[in-house]
């Protein structure tokens, strides 16, 4: 066996498979304090702990009761990579093992680490790809030793004027490097999840149909992601709520080899209309929760390829959520 079997192996496999259950997906609610502040200010709510809690209220026990596995963001943000043109690497490896052990004790069962790459004239450079892939692999190995399923997230930003073919080429190259690094670090793939970008044209390029996105995306995965990986949970990367759902749905409708579940791990694309409906007012909580469930249900259907595009569009559901050079 080439991978390292941690004492948590069975639990990791079970939890990874559970997260990828057809019909389910991930709510990414791990915005840093700074980032959640931007969300709250967009609806004129002050960024204080009381309000952050009021919006998310994710008590670990409450989640567990509803069959929702708690996960935890463990990276410490991106830092510029010296000698490059604005490329970055992700920090957070120092003392990671101890932190993961504490998170496990507190009830977390999966972790997340976001690496970021961009497409430019010569980007992503080999250095950026190697450093980010290596960081992801180290983080993944450490997580598994501590009982947390690592979500491997090599986000290739949508910023730019490149076409979908370029995005596909870069995505394939990056994913290949990631899986090579995971293999070198003896990570047990059955106990991991992948959180990639969908393959799309750049944000400054003309849009294409969901079916096109679906074909390029699934083909890229077929070429680089081993079947041992139980689920691919896409990031929304600035797509509107409705776009992200429709694209995911198209992927699940495709008649082709898909040995992994194709699901979602959406932040903005699950919360946008919910946030607007709440507006910070206690009397809007029920309305906001309804809006939230509308998006959850739509995405659930999208993982089964049965979404009909008929979700009641809340305010903001069709709004692009793209922010240039997004820092999460």
């Amino acid at each position: 066996m080439s991978c390292f079997i941690s004492k948590y192996a069975d639990e990791l496999v079970k939890n990874a498979a559970y997260i990828g259950t057809p019909g389910k997906g991930i709510l990414a609610a791990d915005e840093s304090t700074g980032t959640i502040g931007k969300r709250l200010s967009s609806i004129n709510v002050e960024n204080v702990e009381e309000n952050r809690r009021a919006l998310r209220k994710p008590f670990v026990e409450l989640m567990k009761e509803s069959g929702v596995l708690p996960g935890i963001k463990v990276d410490k943000g991106t830092v510029e990579l010296n000698g490059t043109n604005g490329e970055t690497f992700t920090q957070g490896l120092d003392g990671l093992a101890q932190r993961c052990q504490k998170y496990y004790e507190a009830g977390a069962r999966f972790a997340k680490w976001r690496s970021v790459l961009k497409i430019g004239a010569i980007e992503p450079t080999e250095l950026a790809i190697q450093e980010n892939a290596n960081g992801l692999a180290m983080y993944a190995a450490i997580c598994q030793q501590c009982g947390l399923v690592p979500i491997v997230e090599p986000e290739i930003l949508v910023d730019g004027s490149h076409d979908i073919k370029k995005c596909a080429e870069v995505t394939e190259r990056v994913l290949a490097a990631c899986y090579k690094a995971l293999n070198d670090h003896h990570v047990m793939l059955e106990g991991t999840l992948l959180k990639p970008n969908m393959v799309t044209p750049g944000s400054d390029s003309p849009k294409v149909a969901p079916e096109v996105i679906a074909e390029y995306t699934v083909r890229a995965l077929q070429r680089t992601v081993p079947p041992a990986v139980p689920a691919v949970v896409f990031l929304s990367g600035g797509q509107s709520e409705e776009e992200a759902t429709v694209n995911l749905n198209a992927m699940n409708k495709l008649q082709t080899k898909k040995p992994w579940s194709l699901s979602f791990s959406f932040g903005r694309a699950l919360q946008q209309s919910t946030l607007k409906a709440w507006g910070g007012k206690a009397e809007n909580v029920k309305k906001a929760q309804e809006a939230f469930l509308v998006r959850c249900k739509a995405n659930s259907e999208a993982t089964l390829g049965t979404y009909k595009g008929d979700a009641k569009l809340g305010e903001g559901a069709a709004e692009s959520l793209h922010v240039k050079d997004y820092k999460y």
């Binding site: 991978c3 390292f4 941690s6 410490k76 830092v79 010296n82 000698g83 490059t84 043109n85 920090q91 957070g92 490896l93 120092d94 003392g95 093992a97 010569i122 992503p124 450079t125 080999e126 250095l127 190697q130 450093e131 290596n134 180290m138 190995a141 450490i142 598994q144 030793q145 073919k165 370029k166 080429e169 870069v170 190259r173 070198d184 670090h185 003896h186 990570v187 149909a209 079916e211 096109v212 074909e215 390029y216 083909r219 077929q222 495709l254 008649q255 082709t256 080899k257």
Partner: protein
């Protein structure tokens, strides 16, 4: 005849099959063309670090003839062990007293070009109230700083370690520069009895390369130290083999990270048999193997190679260094010793103020011996028994 299609889709209304038409040359702009560094103004510039010239100058200064590095960067825990060995408590005052003794030895700068400090010491004053860094600079000794955060278990390996310390390294190194440091040190280890596994070697080399790039950007000359541990029963040929692989990988990754080789120093272990090997090697053999390794793996652009002592006795470390300097080398071949410079000095001091001068004399004696060894002129006359005692500690944690 249907065109060959690489698509795995049963039917693909979208993907254009003409992409895969037989005979078509697949000429497309590829992302993986090797390119010049984006910010380099010309082919002669490896990288446009604002500190480029200063780094080269600092490295050359440290690598000056007849001089080497005093490694005094023991973490508080390790310094505690040193103090305990002479019956002293591990307090800040005792650490301060000991480090004061070392940096104030008169004329130390004749033999010592650089001193590696632990963070506490970099911000500390001597018992006379002068900043440690100021005393060093006055002695013509360049202050350096240990920047790694120690070794932790490497998951997926064969019980091997990796070195932490990259988080926030950019800001830390900038702060250390402000405080007066001009070079940095990061120690990672490779263990032959445990393999070493390809993963451990790769992780060691990659970490060093990342640290080196960040240090240079902050104006600190990085000392690159992949210590191949002495522990083990292996013979000298096996050490040589592993060292070849480790250094090849280190330099490849340094290049990938655009590190300026003229602005680094190396701190390798000498090529010797393992500590538990039945066959011992003479200084001549150690020199032959080590020089062979250096010639085959170290680019001449590197200004200085400062060997670690790794548990050899004070005299052994000096003899081996001397043997390596019997003829001219393309790089300055010198020392960066901790135990092999401090051992007798520490024992002579024993924590007593009345012994300070004698202790400093002991330090200067070793420093001078190694200075002579750097010049290939060491004769070994007048060495004490204490100095000949081996200092190998199995599973040594630094």
């Amino acid at each position: 005849m249907a065109a060959a299609s690489a698509t795995l889709l049963k039917s693909s209304p979208i993907l254009d099959k003409s992409e895969f038409v037989k005979g078509q040359s697949l000429r497309q702009p590829s992302v993986s063309i090797v390119r010049c560094h984006p910010n380099a103004p010309s082919a002669l510039t490896v990288r446009a670090s604002s500190y480029a010239d200063e780094l080269v100058k600092t490295a050359k200064t440290i690598a000056s003839p007849g001089r080497g590095i005093l490694a005094m960067d023991e973490s508080n825990a390790t310094c505690g062990k040193r103090l305990a060995s002479i019956g002293l408590e591990n307090t800040e005052a005792n650490r301060q007293a000991y480090r004061t003794l070392l940096v104030s030895a008169p004329g130390l700068g004749d033999y010592i070009s650089g001193a590696i400090l632990f963070e506490e010491t970099l911000y500390q004053s001597t018992t006379d109230g002068k900043k440690m860094v100021d005393v060093l600079v006055e002695q013509n000794i360049v202050p350096g700083i240990k920047v790694d955060k120690g070794l932790v278990p490497l998951p997926g390996s064969n019980n091997e370690s990796w070195c932490q310390g990259l988080d926030g390294l950019s800001s830390r190194t900038a702060a250390y520069y402000q405080q007066g440091a001009r070079f940095a040190k990061w120690r990672t280890v490779v263990s032959i009895p445990n393999g070493p596994t390809a993963l451990a070697v790769k992780e060691a080399a990659w970490g060093l390369a990342r640290y080196a790039a960040i240090s240079q950007d902050s104006g600190l000359v990085p000392i690159v130290e992949p210590e191949i541990l002495l522990d083990g029963e292996h013979g000298i040929d096996r050490t040589f083999e592993v060292a070849q692989k480790v250094w090849a990988e280190v330099f490849f990754y340094l290049a990938e990270n655009n590190v300026q080789f003229e602005g680094i120093l190396l701190k390798p272990s000498m090529v010797t048999p393992g500590a538990e090997c039945k066959d011992k090697a003479t200084p001549q053999q150690v020199a032959d193997y080590t020089l062979k390794l250096l010639h085959s793996r170290i680019p001449p652009a590197v200004p200085g190679i400062m060997f670690l002592s790794g548990g050899q006795s004070e005299v052994e470390a000096t003899l081996n260094l001397n043997a390596m300097n019997q003829s001219a080398n393309p790089w300055h071949v010198s020392f960066s010793y901790a135990r092999a410079l401090q051992n007798t000095c520490l024992k002579t001091w024993g924590g007593r103020p009345e012994n300070v001068k004698a202790a400093q004399d002991a330090l200067l004696l070793r420093a001078k011996a190694n200075s002579l060894a750097q010049l290939g002129k060491y004769t070994g006359d007048g060495e004490s028994e204490e100095a000949k005692k081996g200092m190998f500690v199995k599973g040594y944690v630094y």
